[in-house]
């Protein structure tokens, strides 16, 4: 019983209320850098300690060359400490092992968070019994693990859907909270774009037949489990490029330290092996080397926390590079339904008369549009108590294309599209009213004409109700932020160009695609990519699949079809298209965290040199004592303090690696300046203070100070 041309959104279109609405819940745990957050983290770290010890296995460490080198240094130092025992060598060995351990801990904690999520997911997967449907219509019970692609199963109210598939028969409400965390049930029905169901979710009502589309072990849930666990994690292109830089730096430092003994001998200051190992460990980029994989895992984790599943880390990285966003108008940019915004009376009719007539005609109209007319009328002073008796409501039909009410006195009031009302009235409509109608259409709105026929047959157009596609609050600001980050937003809509332009102007998007067919989307993506731009889009229908596959970041709605989900490289469990913007921010945050910690790690080396070099050579060249700007107590305490700082800084940065460096949208130069100051300059200065403080403690140790 819709009165307008806009299709009514289905009840399960998702919680598409406000761009910001899903954010607080999404990241509370990760974003809260409060003491509770740290306490939780400390508990997690403690729990993962055994895992960190297990990771001391060199076969595991080999994958991280930097940590592997530290491991080798720890073994050598331990040997020295055993063969030629001294307090210094023992302390060094202990702290070198702790350096490796802390690095492992970072990774273990990041993985542990995923594992906790995976465990709760796995609980839902456990042994479902499937009722397999054969060609005769009979059902047999089989374990869900035996299901193969193409099998058809029957699921009824109260039963768990045994595997991923498409509904081929029936309609049901399904509780998907196991996957999405969203408790409101959603409708799944055969055909159309809402046919996909996920294994592990529960049917609440009715009966459906599901054709299985993923074999056991390859289902969505299985993929999700292995993704959040990090077991299927492969290093992303940027991570590999950064590793190459880190390995090269490590080799340079290895050359610098390995060639030092002959130089030191020549200078008459031969160096102990353990001191050289300490110098090497302090110089090589252990901080970023230890935290690199944790940053990657945590990035995926942050996506999972906003209920988005990325099928690969590559997609998350690509999200940071996106320069064009294709956003569906309905539900993303606008609220998805049109709302009354003004009553425009015909000449000779007062606004009150039109208002009351429109309200009466809409009282029985339960569509959002109808309700919005009532709401507007009330807000403009209509009296909601005064209901005349004997009302006879006329529902919308496709034939009449109008709805309305017949009053007790025989007066008929109708509202509908202007052509329908004009035909019904059977009289020429005042050209000024026609002008108003055209004007509204030109602005992208929907004009609803209100007409009445009195008992005597006298017909008149009372005026026009302006229905508007209302742009969500704050969208224009959000798009402006995106623009400052260099991201163009493109609105995709089925509306005509006129309507699309009006909404595009109001929302502040950079471009729009009107009357868009799936082919248009695909063409647009190809065109953007030919210019070297990376494109992100959301989609849910099977006909979106080619465009989703072509887009660099294709986010499929969980409510969409399996074809769409297969084609995209991310799935949004909340089916909220605005989330694309969050995904871009998470992608950027991931890269920023890597860059910031790399910078910090390298900048740290300067202070470590000022601690270790004078300590090594002050005996041969007393003048080098001038470099001991921190005034460290003894050469041994200086070297040990640098090593301890080097190990502790890893622990100190674990929260940052997991949480990610805070990202505020701004122009690139501004972001760079800020991060250079914080992590570059900060990275130079912090260790001077840190090493000095540690030295104050260390110098009290007998045999060191």
């Amino acid at each position: 019983m819709s009165t307008t041309t806009t299709p009514t959104p289905a009840p399960d279109a998702g919680p598409t209320t406000d761009a910001a609405a899903h954010r607080p819940g999404a990241g509370t745990l990760v974003h809260a850098a409060s003491s509770t957050g740290l306490r939780v983290l400390a508990a997690q770290a403690l729990a993962q300690l055994p895992e960190a010890f297990r990771k001391l296995d060199p076969r595991h460490l080999w994958r991280s060359p930097v940590l592997f080198l530290v491991w080798c240094g720890s073994v050598l130092t331990t040997v020295v400490a055993v063969v030629d025992p001294s307090a210094f060598a023992t302390w060094l060995a202990v702290w070198l092992w702790l350096t490796v351990l802390f690095g492992n801990l970072a990774e273990a904690v990041a993985e542990g968070r995923g594992k906790a999520q995976a465990a709760s997911l796995r609980a839902t997967r456990s042994d479902t019994v499937a009722r397999l449907l054969d060609d005769t219509g009979a059902t047999t019970s089989v374990p869900s693990t035996r299901l193969r692609v193409g099998d058809r199963v029957v699921v009824e109210a109260g039963e768990v859907i045994p595997g991923d598939g498409d509904v081929v028969e029936g309609i049901a409400s399904v509780d998907e909270s196991a996957i999405t965390g969203e408790s409101a049930p959603v409708i799944r029905e055969a055909g159309g774009d809402r046919s996909a169901v996920t294994g592990g979710t529960t049917v609440l009502s009715d009966r459906i037949v599901v054709r299985i589309t993923a074999a056991a072990g390859e289902s969505f849930l299985d993929k999700m489990i292995s993704l959040v666990e990090g077991t299927s994690r492969r290093r992303t292109p940027n991570e590999i490029a950064l590793s190459i830089l880190l390995v090269s730096l490590t080799l340079v430092f290895l050359a610098a330290v390995a060639t030092l003994p002959p130089m030191a001998d020549y200078a008459g200051a031969p160096q102990e092996l353990v001191v050289l190992i300490a110098l090497l460990v302090c110089l090589i980029p252990t901080t970023i080397g230890a935290l690199l994989s944790a940053i990657g895992i945590a990035g995926m984790d942050r996506l999972v926390r906003v209920n988005v599943l990325a099928m690969s880390g590559r997609a998350v990285e690509a999200a940071g590079d996106v320069s064009t966003l294709l956003l569906d108008k309905t539900g993303t940019i606008t609220y998805g339904n049109r709302q009354a915004s003004a009553f425009l009376p015909a000449p000779g009719v007062t606004e009150e008369e039109l208002r009351d007539a429109a309200r009466l005609a809409s009282l029985a109209d339960q569509t959002p549009e109808g309700r919005s007319i009532v709401t507007l009328a009330l807000s403009q002073g209509a009296d909601d108590q005064d209901l005349p008796a004997g009302l006879d409501f006329v529902e919308f039909t496709a034939q009449t294309r109008m709805s309305g009410v017949d009053l007790a006195d025989g007066t008929q009031i109708r509202k509908g599209a202007s052509s329908a009302i004009a035909a019904w009235l059977g009289v020429d409509i005042d050209p000024r009213v026609i002008a108003t109608v055209d004007d509204i259409a030109r602005q992208g709105g929907t004009p609803l004409l209100i007409g009445s026929q009195g008992p005597g047959g006298e017909s008149a157009a009372l005026g026009v109700v302006h229905l508007k596609d209302v742009v969500k609050d704050g969208m224009a600001d959000r798009f402006a932020q995106l623009r400052s980050m260099g991201i163009r937003t493109v609105m995709v809509t089925g509306d005509n160009a006129l309507t699309a332009r009006a909404i595009a102007d109001e929302a502040g998007v950079d471009d729009f695609l009107a009357e868009a067919t799936p082919e248009d989307k695909l063409d647009y993506i190809r065109k953007e990519q030919a210019g070297g731009r990376l494109v992100a889009m959301t989609g849910d229908g099977t006909n979106d699949a080619p465009a989703l596959a072509a887009a660099d970041v294709g986010v499929a709605m969980n409510s969409g079809t399996s074809a769409a989900k297969e084609a995209g490289n991310m799935v949004d469990l909340d089916s909220d298209p605005t989330k694309l913007i969050d995904i871009v921010e998470i992608g950027k945050q991931l890269l920023i965290t890597r860059g910031a910690l790399t910078t910090f790690s390298i900048a740290n080396d300067i202070a470590k040199y000022f601690a270790i070099i004078p300590a090594m050579f002050v005996a041969a060249y007393p003048s080098l004592d001038a470099l001991n700007v921190m005034g460290l107590a003894t050469p041994r305490s200086a070297i040990l303090s640098a090593v301890i700082f080097n190990a502790l800084v890893i622990v100190a940065l674990i929260p940052l690696a997991l949480r990610g460096v805070r990202f505020r949208p701004a122009a690139a130069t501004e972001v760079l300046r800020r991060n250079m100051l914080v992590f570059g300059l900060g990275g130079v200065l912090v260790p001077f203070v840190g090493i000095k403080l540690i030295d104050l403690l260390v110098s009290t140790i007998p045999g060191i100070g």
């Binding site: 292109p237 830089l245 340079v252 991201i487 950027k588 890269l591 300067i606």
Partner: protein, 552 residues
């Protein structure tokens, strides 16, 4: 005019002259390398050598050409030296010892011009003019060709081709180096630099007869500086009055040294279609140059005020006709450009001054660096800076419209590794040998600096000598020779492969999210990357030499 005023005026004059030449020469060089026309002389060269000037080369083919051309150059130059006794105009000098000839050949082909021989008493006119001078042109043209190939990597899209090495080599020589060198030679002659084919007998003040070696010095001198070569006709290089007689020729030589490296940044900006990018690269080079110049000048001039002045102080090893200011300027220009010519003994610089010129070379010769090598060296460092900066702004890094991925970083990271490894391993091995201490002119930290300087100079293709160290033993001839050759060719091959991988990519459009690489923030970061990377690599070694000395 006081020394200070004179020093400042000559620096101002130098900057003004470079500023004057910047646009026209930079744009001219851009036009040379992008023009479709061939000069008649060039067509003749192509016909004689059988080169198809329209053929394009892939990165691999370009690299093979560069390496092949260089190795053939080494062989030819060695042959000429070994057979010197049989060559005309050799002033009856004998053939050069085998490893010395290898060292010298490697040195001139690698644009290093490290001289383990004494110029006038080892090599006759034929080897000097037909051998060394030819390589002075050729090695400089190679450097420019590689720089242009890298720039093409940025400007081209979806092609593996980088141009034609033989065309670039010919054009660089005929259209850029020869004309400027000719003008330079005439200006030098006008300033009093000799250009003869005979020696000059004369009577000394003491009444004895003496023969002063003459030769085609001015023509050699011009390309020696212009091509950032640095190999002097005479053993004492630009300190010799026949090579560099007065303040005017001194300034002219510094100008010639800096001319092409500075103006190539304009060429870069013009070719990539973003002039401010060229200025940004120049700014990074200029900041490092200015700081270095200020430090060396302050160290050299400042030493005068101390008690040691009575003993000659910082004038030891400097020519009185130049003084501290001009010596410092020359030293910074020559070490910042991989030239290696000297007008003063770097061994005798103050510890701070000597350490600073050493650091100039350790930067990787990018302030503003050798002809061509300065630009490609700085671009490689800029890629490192872009990689870190790109991450910090939340995008996978891109530079001049090209993505910097794993493949690019592999080439860049290896490039960054080569020279430090050669310097450190060379120094480490040399200092470990017992025989080395006999070759050193000084004990302690200063002696160590001499060895460190030798390998730094060789691997970075500078060629200047700290002096003090005797490098004629086979060990030094071979290891420094290899350091020069590997320090030249390995980075070049990596740069060309990098260029090829960039040229294969499409172009990424610039958006507001793209990190602008022509703004002061980025220049600051680039300077920071150069300084921090160098400091971290060499701090231990430097602390045992110049730093220990300077703090003493």
């Amino acid at each position: 005019m006081s020394d200070t005023l004179a020093g400042l005026v000559s620096i101002a004059a130098l900057v003004a002259l470079l500023a004057l030449a910047y646009r026209p020469l930079g744009d001219y060089m851009a036009a040379v390398y992008s023009s479709d026309r061939h000069l008649r002389a060039e067509r003749l060269v192509y016909r004689l050598t059988g080169v198809d000037p329209r053929a394009e080369q892939s990165a691999r083919s370009y690299a093979v050409s560069v390496v092949g051309f260089s190795l053939v150059g080494v062989v030819l130059l060695m042959a000429m030296q070994l057979a010197q006794a049989h060559l005309p105009f050799s002033r009856d000098l004998p053939g050069v010892p085998f490893w010395m000839s290898f060292n010298t050949a490697a040195s001139f082909v690698a644009n290093t011009n490290w001289q383990s021989y004494a110029g006038e008493s080892t090599l006759g006119f034929t080897v000097q003019m037909a051998g060394l001078a030819v390589q002075n042109f050729a090695s400089a043209a190679v450097g420019m060709a590689v720089a242009v190939a890298l720039i093409r990597g940025f400007t081209r899209a979806r092609t593996g081709n980088l141009g034609n090495f033989w065309v670039d080599l010919t054009r660089g020589t005929l259209r850029i180096l020869l004309p400027i060198a000719a003008v330079g030679a005439v200006l030098l002659m006008a300033g009093g630099v000799v250009q003869t084919f005979s020696d000059t007998p004369m009577d000394t003040l003491a009444g004895h007869g003496q023969v002063l070696t003459g030769g085609p010095v001015a023509s050699q001198e011009a390309i020696k500086e212009l091509g950032t070569n640095g190999g002097g006709f005479f053993n004492s290089n630009s300190a010799h009055p026949f090579e560099n007689p007065n303040g005017y020729t001194n300034l002219l030589e510094v100008l010639l040294i800096l001319l092409i490296p500075v103006c190539l940044t304009r060429t870069l900006g013009t070719l990539v279609g973003n002039r401010r990018q060229g200025l940004a690269v120049l700014a990074a080079m200029g900041v490092l140059f200015a700081v270095s110049l200020a430090a060396v000048t302050a160290a050299e001039v400042g030493a005068r005020s101390q008690a040691a002045q009575a003993a000659g102080a910082a004038m030891e090893g400097k020519e009185t006709r130049f003084g501290e200011w001009a010596s410092a300027l020359f030293a910074v220009a020559t070490t910042g450009t991989s030239t290696g010519a000297v007008n003063a003994s770097h061994d005798s610089l103050t510890p701070t001054g000597g350490g600073m010129v050493l650091l100039n070379m350790m930067f990787g010769e990018v302030t503003p660096g050798g002809v061509g090598s300065g630009v490609y060296g700085m671009l490689v460092l800029a890629i490192v800076a872009v990689f870190i900066a790109g991450l910090m702004v939340g995008r996978t890094p891109e530079f001049l419209g090209k993505k910097i991925g794993a493949r690019q970083m592999t080439y860049v990271a290896t490039y960054m590794l080569v020279t430090p490894a050669l310097v450190l391993v060379g120094t480490g091995v040399a200092i470990a040998l017992g025989s080395t201490s006999d070759a050193l002119g000084n004990p302690g930290g200063h002696g160590f600096s001499e060895v460190l300087y030798a390998y730094t100079s060789g691997a970075n293709n500078n060629g200047s000598a700290f002096g003090g160290i005797t490098v004629t033993s086979d060990f030094f001839q071979i290891t420094i020779g290899l350091a020069m050759l590997l320090g030249r060719l390995v980075p070049i091959v990596l740069v060309l492969l990098l260029a090829g991988s960039l040229a294969e990519q499409g172009r990424v459009p610039t958006t507001a999210g793209t990190l602008p690489t022509h703004k002061p923030v980025f220049v600051t970061l680039l300077v920071g990357v150069v300084v921090v990377f160098t400091a971290l690599t060499y701090f231990p070694a430097l602390s045992l030499g110049p730093i220990a000395e300077a703090l003493a």
